[in-house]
């Protein structure tokens, strides 16, 4: 029983990170119908920026995070601006374009910070809480809280602000949205910027849990992408549920199947997707691909 609950606790903490990565994937997808394959690399960049400001510039962790999110949002804007001429013309080229950006970011990270990684000490030094024999890291609680706040803010932005509603409109029908005077390019740019910001948030938060190296975003990107698909690609609550589900699934698979856990995780994932191709929340409002 103790193993069971401890496994859930471990899975949820990484699951929250996967959820943040999935949110970024989903936001860009619902707005543009585009899978941003550079997303995982943006996570790496975010993780490096946050750790650099935290460790080298000695900024407080929270401020380092905010700066990192700001800088990566700008990178998101750059990616969108470069790809904009292709929007609605050649979708495949746009996809390849994001892959290309991923490779460029990967190379830049290695050029700037080197191939070896760095360890980030936990910004919350408090000892883990002990609860009925379960051990819960205080930092995990911080991660969960921040992920929850970020989700709420995102939902409020999309549903309560004019800009957010405009983005929703573009997602549903971009021609009609253009007709009523919504700037589609700007809407896409905002989606990319927020998506990149979320990636930086995930990367920055995961730094103290893991080890920041150029390969960091690769694993998180794949798991986050799977989470987005599992929850229903393009769905905001789906991204959260999918992220937590992948985290916990991964954790249990690791406990029961040991060396074959990765295989089992993705087998289960495949079976779920075969039964429910649109994912748990399968709201396919977006169909521009």
């Amino acid at each position: 029983m103790q193993v069971f609950f401890q496994t859930i606790v471990g899975g949820v903490s990484l699951g929250a990170i996967y959820a943040l990565v999935a949110l970024g994937f989903s936001l860009v997808y619902r707005t543009m119908g585009l899978v941003n394959f550079a997303h995982g690399n943006v996570v790496t960049v975010g993780a490096y920026l946050a750790s650099t400001f935290y460790l080298s510039a000695k900024l407080p962790f929270a401020i380092a995070m905010v700066v990192a999110i700001g800088v990566t949002a700008v990178i998101g804007l750059v990616i969108e601006r470069v790809l904009r001429p292709l929007e609605n013309r050649d979708f495949d080229l746009m996809l390849i374009g994001t892959i290309g950006f991923g490779i460029v970011l990967d190379a830049l990270v290695i050029m700037i910070w080197g191939a070896t990684g760095r360890a980030v000490p936990s910004p919350v030094p408090a000892a883990p809480l002990s609860l009925f024999g379960l051990r819960i890291r205080t930092y995990d609680l911080v991660v969960l809280a921040i992920a929850a706040i970020a989700t709420v803010l995102l939902v409020l932005f999309l549903s309560r602000t004019k800009r957010g509603t405009a983005m929703q409109a573009v997602a549903m029908d971009h021609e009609a949205a253009t007709a009523v005077g919504i700037h589609v390019g700007r809407s896409n740019a905002i989606a990319f910027a927020i998506g990149a910001g979320l990636a930086a948030l995930a990367g920055g938060l995961v730094g103290p849990l893991l080890y920041v190296n150029p390969a960091l975003g690769g694993t998180l990107g794949i798991k986050g992408f799977a989470a987005a698909i599992l929850g229903g690609f393009g769905s905001i609550p789906g991204a959260i549920v999918g992220g937590l589900a992948i985290g916990v699934l991964d954790s249990f698979a690791a406990g029961h199947f040991q060396g074959y856990s990765e295989l089992v995780t993705f087998l289960v994932f495949t079976v779920i997707i075969m039964i429910r191709p649109t994912g748990v929340f399968g709201e396919r409002t977006v169909n521009r691909a």
Partner: protein, 380 residues
């Protein structure tokens, strides 16, 4: 990799052109007697194992630049070219063909046993001697006369460790956590064997994957057995994460392992206070063990601005052996060079190298303990 692309295209073009010319007219592509001596260094410069590749490059480069500063070999400079295998066996086999076609005399690397094993058949056919930093017993099983190790195999590491832990310390309540990569698997098998020889069965035997990030399930299972010691068979970063999460879960037992557990990456990832008391089996415990290692560590620090560690030292030894063999054999190639390496007796940083027929040149490690954030020789 990307910046090598035009070069690669050129190489392909050259190959096509060579294929067009008359047979026997392209002799000068390899084994030339003028110009720089070309040695390839193949290692992960990107990806999860890139820290290994970076250390290895630094160690080998240091040895080469020392030789070049003294005028090279027979008045020829040594040219060390770096190839990135990304820690991937498929990329490795492609690189093996590439260094063959570009006329490299010898190869240094890789630091990953799986990649080296994948490259070995091609290098054997091409008769290119290779000194690897891998330590898996699988390297010996390949049975290539062109493959040499620059350190002991896992069997030596783990036999020494089991001897210290079980025979000397009398610890029998041991749990194991290893990954299913080639290094982790080698460690798992070698240590289980060493324990079985002492009729000790591990109380828990957890296997994790190489890119797993959350170890709660495996570690909670281990915690329930309350072992006295936990054997750790995984690379630097993963080992560090395992130890960090184990301490968060309230496991206080010390860890024990091989080379990765003696590195700064392991220590930093886990956090210095978490690795206190870790038992390490290593052929190179610290930079202060001998005058030679002090000299090496000073040169390393001067060149790269960081402290030297085992992997850099291993690669340095390997490169020194390669260059000594090249000098002794008057820049021989192929089988003659392999024989020259086998005949080289070298007093290195890791100890005295004397190669046997299996390509292993050194058969001893020492036991160290992490104390106050530093790896020091264990007082048994």
């Amino acid at each position: 990799m990307a910046r090598n692309r035009p070069l690669y295209a050129l190489a392909v073009l050259a190959l096509v052109l060579a294929g067009c010319s008359a047979p026997g007219s392209d002799k000068k592509s390899s084994g030339s007697t003028t110009g720089p001596i070309k040695i390839a260094l193949v290692d992960a410069q990107s990806g999860q194992l890139s820290s290994l590749g970076a250390w290895e490059l630094k160690g080998a480069k240091l040895a080469v630049s020392e030789w070049n500063a003294q005028g090279g070999i027979n008045g020829r400079q040594i040219q060390l070219d770096v190839f990135d295998d990304q820690g991937d066996p498929t990329t490795g086999t492609n690189l093996a063909r590439k260094i063959q076609s570009e006329g490299y005399l010898a190869m240094i690397g890789t630091a990953e046993s799986a990649v080296t094993i994948a490259m070995a058949p091609t290098l054997k056919t091409a008769q290119i001697p290779n000194i690897t930093s891998g330590q898996s017993p699988g390297l010996v099983a390949v049975g290539s006369e062109f493959l040499f190790l620059n350190g002991p195999t896992s069997t030596t590491y783990d036999e020494t460790l089991a001897k210290y832990v079980v025979d000397q310390q009398g610890i029998k309540n041991i749990a194991m956590i290893t990954n299913n990569g080639s290094y982790g698997k080698g460690e798992h098998d070698a240590f289980t064997k060493a324990l079985a020889k002492r009729s000790v069965t591990p109380v828990a035997d957890q296997v994790v994957t190489t890119d797993q990030k959350d170890f709660s399930a495996a570690l909670t299972a281990i915690r329930q057995k309350s072992p006295k010691l936990i054997f750790l068979g995984a690379e630097e970063v993963e080992s560090g994460l395992i130890v960090k999460q184990a301490r968060d879960l309230g496991i206080t037992a010390p860890f024990a392992g091989g080379a990765p557990q003696g590195t700064p990456v392991f220590l930093n990832t886990a956090g210095a206070q978490n690795v206190e008391g870790t038992i390490v089996s290593s052929p190179y415990l610290s930079n202060d063990i001998s005058p030679a290692s002090k000299k090496f560590a000073d040169a390393y620090k001067a060149a790269y601005g960081e402290d030297a560690e085992l992997h850099g030292a291993k690669a340095y030894d390997g490169a020194q052996i390669m260059l000594t063999a090249l000098k002794n054999s008057n820049v021989a190639t192929g089988k003659a060079l392999a024989d020259a390496i086998r005949a080289t007796k070298y007093q290195g940083l890791l100890g005295d190298f004397a190669y046997d027929n299996t390509g292993v040149g050194i058969f001893a490690t020492s036991i160290g303990k992490i104390s106050n954030g530093k790896l020091v020789a264990a007082t048994s």
